[in-house]
Symmetry: D2
Subunit: 296 residues, 4 copies
Amino acid sequence: MAKKFRGIYAALLTPFAGDEIAADKFRDNILKFNEYDLTGYVVLGSTGECVSLSDEESERLVRTAREAAAKGKAIIAGTARESTRLTVEFTNRMADLGVDAALVRPPSYFKSKMTHEALKKHYLAVADRSRVPVILYNIPQNTGITLEGKLILELAGHPNIMGLKESSGTIAFLGELSRRLPADFSYLLGHGSAFLPALLMGASGAILAVANAAPGLCVKTFRLFSEGRIEEAAALQLDLVPLNKAVMEIYGIPGLKYALDRQGWYGGPVRPPLLPLEENGKAEIDAQLRKLGLIG
Amino acid sequence: MAKKFRGIYAALLTPFAGDEIAADKFRDNILKFNEYDLTGYVVLGSTGECVSLSDEESERLVRTAREAAAKGKAIIAGTARESTRLTVEFTNRMADLGVDAALVRPPSYFKSKMTHEALKKHYLAVADRSRVPVILYNIPQNTGITLEGKLILELAGHPNIMGLKESSGTIAFLGELSRRLPADFSYLLGHGSAFLPALLMGASGAILAVANAAPGLCVKTFRLFSEGRIEEAAALQLDLVPLNKAVMEIYGIPGLKYALDRQGWYGGPVRPPLLPLEENGKAEIDAQLRKLGLIG
Amino acid sequence: MAKKFRGIYAALLTPFAGDEIAADKFRDNILKFNEYDLTGYVVLGSTGECVSLSDEESERLVRTAREAAAKGKAIIAGTARESTRLTVEFTNRMADLGVDAALVRPPSYFKSKMTHEALKKHYLAVADRSRVPVILYNIPQNTGITLEGKLILELAGHPNIMGLKESSGTIAFLGELSRRLPADFSYLLGHGSAFLPALLMGASGAILAVANAAPGLCVKTFRLFSEGRIEEAAALQLDLVPLNKAVMEIYGIPGLKYALDRQGWYGGPVRPPLLPLEENGKAEIDAQLRKLGLIG
Amino acid sequence: MAKKFRGIYAALLTPFAGDEIAADKFRDNILKFNEYDLTGYVVLGSTGECVSLSDEESERLVRTAREAAAKGKAIIAGTARESTRLTVEFTNRMADLGVDAALVRPPSYFKSKMTHEALKKHYLAVADRSRVPVILYNIPQNTGITLEGKLILELAGHPNIMGLKESSGTIAFLGELSRRLPADFSYLLGHGSAFLPALLMGASGAILAVANAAPGLCVKTFRLFSEGRIEEAAALQLDLVPLNKAVMEIYGIPGLKYALDRQGWYGGPVRPPLLPLEENGKAEIDAQLRKLGLIG
């Protein structure tokens, strides 16, 4: 059995015009991304400011992505809500729009009560009732909840739980799991500075925010790895680290949007409470893009 | 200028029948709470499993509370969403239903970007546009975000930011702020095991989940304090601690709901991902209720 | 059975001249503290930069304190080391110098292995072999280890474990324990901004760093509380908060030393890695001391 | 300029007989390790229970290691103390015994005061005065202190600061630093489950506790990597993960000692407060050793 989810997925940004979503810009961006050898797109991920959107806005983005994505490109939608009921409802609403899988981060508000058992019941209930495959999502830096290895191994036995997006980027954690997960379960790294090491340790691909800004570089790193040219791939991975750090960690989503604007794509503003990028951030991101040959 | 928010508010539970909200049970509970000397009610707070509800369910609960609450009882609604825009929209939707104030916890998903400046802009924008007074809400155990003293002092200057619910229960933090806040700003403790010490250090009242289970005891503690009978109040506070710990910390919301069921009110089930109460929890809560003379 | 440890203890600073300990200055300070109604002194506590000292320096400080302390003043020494063996050895070395009790924080380097069982065995072994009473010490902000209520209750049953210094300052935690601890077990708060609320909730006293800078104020707060004049005591407690925050939290030990220098006592420099106080810190501490009438 | 520290170093265990150090067993272990292609040994590291030892015991272990180590094997000693003064003194005491470098974790007791500036001054002072090269040591899981990339880059400019042992195992962090550090600065990973990915991303070697239990496997992984046989190396790395997790994370030092006992070397007991290994741990470690062909 092959892994269902392989290669590089871009975790798409949500374009705004003012404080309204700009579906046309979203479509234009996707049309450009279609030219790269990306496996697919994540809509309504953290990079997409999903938590800042209404259900109606979310629906509109997914429709747009489904229409704009080139044939064969997978659409994965972030569909988590804080209760099991709302998560199932929203997941199936997205399934009806044609997404290929649902990316589901854990409920996190009642932190101290999100025990192994609570998380397990939640995910099993979602997987039982979801009309599309479920991909688990570990992003403790945002949720304050860590999906433990034991839980992931147990959940991976469910026929409708097909993968994990792991955004803490802990390579040792991957090493502990990669040989113990089912053969068709996909481990996708969600960290742009460590996906090549992850591929080496058994990941089948990556879901990357930085792929918005440097899709070609991400895709080429994956291809070199697939061809066994690991040292060349490692050099590209190291090339990518400073840009990834700048647009993800230091400046965040407004930085990433700026990196798109600079390359002739549409980044635009973020929705508050996120703050706009400051001037010094622009200079640093310019420098990183220039070093990678992405702008002149 | 007097404090607007004083005395004891019950942070109401949300009753469910199966997985549906039970508005009739909610009304019945409120009618019983009306018999106590509570200042008012918080609807859609953490205790109310607010994050597990749809907007429509939330609206229905607020309508019910507004209708059932005795004359003069304040209704405060939890109205936070993750973006500024959605928070403003939902706050004013609740304002239109007649709530007296909005309790607004900070956005928390983009944790590392919720800087002093981001939180300040968010709260000021919400306060500017909200048609009801805003009460800040510090509950780091659930959000992973701490509202710093400096931020609270700055926000307290806004004419529509009228109070703080502080649920970490840190008395030293209150001591740092209580003399520096505006005279009409209300500091309300959100911790049932330390509200008497908080009153002593300058809080004007408390918003308590445990007031669902022991409204009389909470109200009496406040009254004794108001009469200067502080040592008697402290003894009652210590009486309340074991029940508060059992229903809040150890067993959580399902434990609190059970404590209502045992007293002839309606607690009922929780909505997943919260888990139901286990048998040993029932025995311990029974013991605590019995010790307080709340059940026979 | 009465509590053995009651009232206010000063957690003494360690004076340095250059990078050498200044035992003469230490003696002079104690002679001045003897004029206040303090119950006793803690030597080699966190405030005393205990971890920065050699065993020989530590021994010299304890000798000096024993000689300089007025008759009837208790000397409590911080004696923790990272292994059980070294803790017992050093505790008894201090016992031989005449200390009245040993204040023992938990081992903390092997954090993930300091389970309930490991900590329990450690403390029981130390208590069994110590020739002086042991006082547990909870200071998670420095150790990264929290002594849980259950552990404290179990250890409190040992005849040679006579108290707890609790420096997180969590009043709810005290509320959970105060009625369940043995009658002769002393709960001593180690937080200068919340000791009055702690007394109200059952603490028998406090070990305070701020008592170096404002011994009179600390002692008076305790006396007012003991006389049932609780609201007056609360007002003094609130008076003390800004100085306590300045010298403990914001500026730390160099700030506290400066506050002594300003009052004609000896503070002097800190030992690196602690940094000296910056100029703006001096101005703020001056302002706090002036507001309390401690300097002209 | 070549990296001074390359290849695999074993972070040696400290053997005890009862609660006394067993220098003879320590020597015997080293004589056996000499047969492997390890670059050298770390004495008085975390794995060596350094914080549980007296200065005299520490000295005796270093003397023994110096004598027993085969010609050309480097000896690195852990020499950190909580103050700058004590660290310098102990470092030079070890230098006098002939160690090749000092491994220095940051002071950690005064956590909130260990700012960039405080840590920088501390390390510069130690490096200025140490008679042997200093290796920085990042182990936040034990110290609660993280050495930030910016600090490491600044310190790396000091001629006597020659390397970093990085035990959090965060590969993205390595990626950020590896091209920006001086050519002769050595980055050594201190995590047995991720050292191969680290080598790929620019580390020059590793200091491994698991090398006590499986020196041959560690050394072979490094050799394969050096020969460009990266996929074979990755397979060995994955082979090693379960044993590393068992002896480091799940069971810790007592588990690692047991793994030595089972192979005919000397592990022996740990010193309290560490607890002895439980029976189920023995069975699991046996299983891991057997799977790797290390026991029959």
